[in-house]
């Protein structure tokens, strides 16, 4: 059995989370490769939706952005972004969306806007929401793909760009959002999920060889541990073969 990178593990785990999904809202990089791995390993009907307005892409090369022209040629449907946001996303047709962020907090809220205390004088100006805020509200399930780190996993985000469970599951429920909120955070060391009652993030399953302490070291608050702490199966030989030979032979995203 060949060794594998943390990224390859994250891709494999994300792909497994897509097993039952009909549609996935994806960006480039790890999410894109995870979707294509899911398609080749048991969910051949999974359809990819890009916020650029593409449904059912069949790219002839690895796309470099969500607006890459290779996503358009041979796609099933390409539409104005208004249609995509109104009728696909808000219309309830997105089963799973994968999001990253510069910061994620105890309740799965995401920050991709600023680092620092003052919006008008940020220490670091980040890209902002793009579609992430409405994706977090409208997609049925949200998967976060984020590497552990105490500067990333913060007790409270500097800026709440995209709602997870806000101050807890009850608050999100009260707002009547169509989507169920974050389902899991797929990190480089473990999979985290959210307490079914409080909505607080917790350690759900460790990657092989990782300790609870190592995970805690990458999280800026005392992390809950799920009652039945599991261990994640490493990528199978077949999963690795597909990633390496077919999906990202140049190793752009697997490194």
């Amino acid at each position: 059995m060949s060794k594998y990178t943390a990224s390859e593990m994250m891709i494999a785990v994300a792909a497994r989370h897509l097993a039952g999904a009909r549609t996935a809202f994806v960006g480039v990089g790890i999410p894109n490769i995870a979707c294509n791995l899911a398609i080749r390993t048991g969910n051949p009907a999974l359809a990819l939706i890009y916020e650029s307005g593409v449904y059912g892409a069949q790219p002839a090369r690895l796309p470099l952005s969500i607006g890459d022209p290779t996503l358009v040629t041979g796609a099933v449907s390409v539409m104005p972004m208004a249609d995509l946001f109104m009728y696909y996303l808000q219309g309830g047709l997105v089963d799973v969306a994968m999001l990253g962020a510069a910061q994620i907090d105890r309740f799965g809220n995401l920050n991709s806007t600023i680092i620092g205390a003052d919006y008008n004088h940020p220490k670091t100006r980040l890209p902002g929401s793009g579609g992430a805020c409405e994706i977090s509200i409208n997609a049925r399930r949200i998967l976060n793909i984020t590497r552990l780190g105490a500067r990333t996993f913060v007790e409270k985000v500097d800026f709440l760009t995209s709602p997870g469970f806000l101050a807890g599951r009850a608050e999100r429920d009260r707002m009547g959002m169509p989507g169920e909120g974050p389902e899991a955070v797929i990190t480089d060391k473990a999979v985290l999920d959210f307490d079914p009652h409080s909505g607080e993030m917790r350690l759900a399953a460790l990657y092989p060889g990782v300790s609870v302490e190592e995970v805690q070291a990458g999280v800026g608050w005392p992390l809950l541990v799920a009652p039945a702490l599991g261990e994640v199966e490493p990528p199978t030989a077949e999963e690795l073969r597909i990633m390496r030979d077919e999906l990202d032979p140049a190793g752009l995203y697997r490194g």
Binding site: Y55, A75, V78, G91
Partner: protein, 305 residues
């Protein structure tokens, strides 16, 4: 499991008594094949939604399938009145028909709100009109911005079932339309179930060669029915013309209850399916309706490898 089925199967499975149904298409792409099958299967208590009820809903109302009509323009386009619907509204024949009336833009806004899961859609209409006094679903919202303007709103319309006639789709139901696009996209996305009826099924590669033309994705399509000439006497751009004599004939015969029944007997009840209907119509009529060729010039999407 394939979505491809016969019209009989599709109507049996997706159009039970009592549903709210939208068979859309503006002047063209009106799926008479579906409407006639619904009549034949004896459906009752349907709520029929359409901007322009047209001959199709006139015939369905005459046959007694409808409890209610949601619409914005009750005319026989270019011909005159829809007599069967008028009889139902004015005299309760064959039975009373509840109506819920909008403007064209109001109906379009309702489909948009339904498709986009919005609680309402705003539009500049209704001011000064008597319609809001007779339809309590027409309301107003005040803008929260500087001018504080009050604007008309309509509520979402989410039909249980939409039936969309189209020139072509692939085996999965990815559907392309050209010519008048009407409000079919919005109606289909707003509906709980969608039946697509096409002139022809084409290979996936045809659809994928021009993704900008695909208005309905397989995602929202529950059944695909192949029914060439299924929109007759309305038309399908590039496939056949509207059969105006047929429209005029209904315009005449539908003035009379007895003759209306005879028409339904002749063209619906005694015809088991669309193939038989077309045979009865005759190749001469079909030939007369076929247009010459006017092909779109291709565009290059480019190979990006």
């Amino acid at each position: 499991m394939s979505k491809i089925m016969t019209m009989r199967e599709a109507v049996q499975e997706f159009v039970p008594d009592g549903v709210t149904l939208a068979i859309e298409g503006f002047t063209g792409l009106i799926c008479f094949a579906a409407g006639h099958e619904i009549i034949r299967q004896g459906r009752r208590d349907l709520t029929l939604c359409r901007l322009t009820p047209d001959l199709l809903y006139d015939q369905m109302v005459a046959a007694g399938v409808a409890r209610k009509l949601v619409f914005s323009y009750l005319g026989n386009p270019g011909v005159g009145s829809l007599y069967a619907i008028r009889r139902a509204v004015e005299k309760g024949i064959p039975h009373p028909l509840e109506i819920e009336e909008y403007t064209h833009f109001g109906m379009i806004g309702r489909y948009i709100a339904g498709a986009a899961r919005l609680p309402f859609f705003p539009l500049r209409s209704h001011s000064g009109s008597d319609l809001p006094a007779h339809n309590s679903r027409l309301k107003w919202v005040q803008s929260p911005y500087e001018d504080g303007e009050t604007i008309a709103v309509v509520p979402p319309l989410n039909p249980d079932v939409a039936i969309i006639h189209a020139p072509r789709c692939d085996q999965h139901g990815n559907t392309q339309l050209w010519g008048l696009l009407g409000m079919q996209k919005e109606a289909a996305f707003a509906a709980g179930k969608v039946i697509v009826v096409v002139e022809e099924i084409v290979d996936d590669s045809v659809i994928r060669s021009d993704p900008n033309r695909t208005l309905l994705p397989d995602l929202i399509v529950d059944a695909v029915v192949v029914e060439p000439f299924g929109a007759h006497p309305s038309y399908v751009q590039g496939y056949y013309d509207r059969d105006n004599p047929f429209y005029l004939d209904w315009g005449e015969r539908s003035r009379d209850v007895e003759q209306t029944s005879q028409w339904l007997d002749e063209w619906v009840y005694s015809v088991p399916d669309r193939a038989t209907y077309l045979k009865k119509l005759g190749e001469e009529t079909l030939s007369r309706l076929r247009p010459g060729e006017a092909l779109s010039q291709p565009v290059n999407y480019g190979q990006y490898t």
